[in-house]
Symmetry: C2
Subunit: 344 residues, 2 copies
C-alpha cells in the first residue's frame, strides 16, 4: 500500500465535494489502486489544519472549526509523495504551487488563475516535468485538457480550437434566442445562481478569457492576458456602477440584443459567445452561427469545444456537456488525482 | 533513458501508420518522455521479424520482405518493460496477449475481438491490474474509453450509454435522409471504401455489436455476444448469398427504407443506427430520433457517444467526431502507449 499525502487548498463548493468523494471512495481506492490517500492539510482562505502524519476522517469532518495554521508551512514539511490540490479561485497560490513542484510533489488545479496570469508563471509551472494536472480548468469534468494533450503528444497539428466555455453565457444566449429580453435573461441566470453575485464577472467574458488563455498556451502560443481580445456584453461605462446600479441599467441594453438576434434569425442564424483560438488569433466574442451548426444546436448552459486538427480537419472532434458545477468539477479533480496515483 | 520494448502484431493500414508515427516521433518521445521505444518484433498474419535487442529504423522499413518467425516466440523472450501492440482484426491473438500480461508486460489493443469474445476472456485480460489499454476499440481516436474509465473510477454511476458507432452506417443513414435509396447508399459507401468488400460485415451490425459489448462489460455487465440484440439491416435470408448476389438483391429493400424514412420525416424524425446500453438491456437497432436531437444532428460518417450518468443526468456528456480511419486510430494507439510510458 502506497501512502500518498494530500494538501488541499480551497474548501468551497468544489473543495467540499472533493473531500467527500475522496473519503467516500477511500476503501475502493485502496483496493483498486493500492493507494492510501492521506489528508495532511486542509486550508481555506482564513484557516487551516495541518499535520504531516495525516488526519482521521473525524478530524477532517470537523474542519473548519479547528486550529489555524499558515498554508505555506505545509508544503515544506509534508513527506513525498504528495499532491497539492488547489480548488481555490485565488491568484495568490502560485508561490505554493511552485514550491510543491520544486520539492518533487504533484500539483492538481481546478483554479484557473495560476495558469492564466503571466506567461512566465505558466511556463514556470510546466518546467518541472509531467507533475502538473489541470483537467477541470476548461469544461470542468469534460475531457478537454487531456484530449488536447493527447492530440499534441501524438504529433497532431492542432490548428484551431473553438469553444463555448461559459454555462452562464450559454444560458443567456439560449434565452435570448427563445425571445426573452437580455435584462430578463441576466436576472433569471442570477436568480438561478448561474452568475456570480456581480453578473459582470460573467458578462465581461473574463472567465472565458482565462480558459482561452490556457488552451492557447497549451497550443504553444506565447500570449499574455491582454492579447486575448474579449468582447464584453455590456458597455465599458457600466464598469463604474455598483452591482445594484448595474442591474438597474441593463434594461437599456435590451433593444441592442433584440435587434441582433432578430437579424441573426432572419438568416437562420443565432448568437453564441464563442472563443476562437488559432495560430494567429485569440478572441472571445458574441458570434453569429448557423442554427443547424454545432454551436447553433447548443442549448442552455452546456459547454462545447471543437478541435480542428490535421487529423480532424474536414470533420472536427466535438465534446459537449455541462462545463461547470461542483460535483463534475470535483470528479474531474479526482480523475487527475487517480492519474497521478497510477504513476506514483 | 528508459528503453521500452515493443512487439507489434498486425501491420495493416493502422499498423503501418503507427510504425511511421513512432519512428517519426522517436526523437521527441526521447526528449519529452525520456523513453526509447525499441521495436523488437513486427508481425503480420504471414510473417514477422523478431530480435530481442531491437531493430534499426532501416531494418523496420524493410519488413515485411524479411525473415519469418512465429509470433509466439516473441512474448517469451522480450525483456521487460515491454508493450505488446495488437492492431490486427484477428480473434486468434488472445493467448499471446494473456501471455504478455502474465509475464508482466503491457498490452495495447485496437483489435476489438479479444475483448468482444467470451466474457471469460474479457475478465481474464482485466485480471492483471492496470496493464491493458484499448482506447481505440470504440470511436478510434475519440476519448471514449478513457472518459468512461474516469467516470467509473471517480465513483459516478453510469446508467445509460447511447452511441452511433459505425461511420459506414452513419453515412448510409444520412444518405437515406437526403433522399438517396438504400441500395444506392450502400453502393456509394462501398465505392468510397467505407464498407468492407462484403457490405454485410457492416450492415449486419456485428462491428457495432462488438463495441457495444466492450462498453457494457466496462459498465460491469456480464454479457456474452449473444446477449446483444442486433437488428440487421437486411433479411436473414440474404446471409446465404454470395457478395455479388447480395449486391444484386439489395434493390428489393429500397421500398421498406423509403417508407420508414418518409414516416419518420413526417414527424420531424429521422433514422439512426443506435446502440443502447443500460443496466438491463443491450441493443443495436435502426431507431427513430428527433431531427433536432443530438443523434439527429449527426451527419455523414461521424460517430457519437452519449453518456448519461448520475452526475451527467439532465444534460448528458456528448462526444462526436470521426470514429474510424487509420491515422486517428494509430494516433489513439500511440496515446495509449504514451500513457504507459509515463507509468513505466
Amino acid at each position: 500500500m502506497r501512502k500518498i499525502n494530500l494538501i488541499h487548498l480551497g474548501i468551497g463548493n468544489v473543495g467540499k465535494a472533493l473531500v467527500r468523494m475522496i473519503l467516500e471512495n477511500r476503501k475502493e481506492l485502496k483496493e483498486h489502486f493500492g493507494a492510501d490517500l492521506n489528508y495532511c492539510g486542509l486550508f481555506n482562505s482564513k484557516s487551516g489544519i495541518f499535520d504531516r502524519r495525516g488526519f482521521s476522517i473525524k478530524q477532517l469532518k470537523q474542519f473548519p472549526a479547528d486550529s489555524r495554521v499558515e498554508a505555506k508551512l505545509a508544503v515544506d514539511e509534508v513527506p513525498l509523495p504528495f499532491i497539492l490540490i488547489d480548488t481555490t479561485a485565488s491568484d495568490k497560490t502560485f508561490p505554493l504551487l511552485e514550491k510543491a513542484l520544486q520539492k518533487g510533489g504533484y500539483v492538481v488545479l481546478s483554479n484557473k488563475r495560476p495558469l492564466a496570469g503571466s506567461n512566465e508563471q505558466f511556463k514556470k509551472l510546466h518546467s518541472f516535468g509531467n507533475r502538473l494536472f489541470y483537467e477541470t480548468t476548461v469544461g470542468a469534468g469534460l475531457p478537454v485538457i487531456r484530449t488536447l494533450k493527447t492530440l499534441l503528444a501524438t504529433g497532431d497539428d492542432v490548428s484551431e480550437i473553438y469553444g463555448c466555455f461559459s454555462g452562464t453565457l450559454g444560458f443567456i444566449c439560449s434565452s435570448i434566442e427563445d425571445g426573452v429580453s437580455f435584462s430578463e435573461s441576466v436576472r433569471q441566470a442570477r436568480k438561478m445562481g448561474y452568475t456570480e453575485f456581480d453578473p459582470r464577472e460573467d458578462l465581461s467574458g473574463a472567465d472565458v478569457g482565462r480558459k482561452t488563455l490556457i488552451l492557447a498556451r497549451m497550443m504553444g502560443m506565447d500570449v499574455e492576458p491582454d492579447d486575448i481580445k474579449i468582447q464584453k456584453l455590456y458597455p465599458t461605462s457600466y464598469d463604474g456602477y455598483t452591482v445594484e446600479q448595474f442591474m438597474q441599467n441593463i434594461d437599456k441594453l435590451d433593444k441592442e440584443y433584440q435587434d441582433k438576434i432578430r437579424k441573426a434569425k432572419k438568416r437562420e442564424n443565432t448568437l453564441r459567445f464563442i472563443a476562437k483560438i488559432s495560430q494567429n488569433i485569440c478572441k472571445v466574442r458574441l458570434t453569429k452561427v448557423a442554427q443547424n451548426s454545432n454551436f447553433g444546436s447548443l442549448k442552455g448552459p452546456d459547454n462545447m469545444i471543437i478541435f480542428k486538427t490535421k487529423r480532424y480537419s474536414d470533420r472536427p472532434m466535438v465534446i459537449k456537456g455541462p462545463g461547470a458545477g461542483s460535483e463534475v468539477t470535483a470528479a474531474g479533480v479526482l480523475g487527475d488525482i487517480l492519474t497521478i496515483v497510477r504513476v506514483v
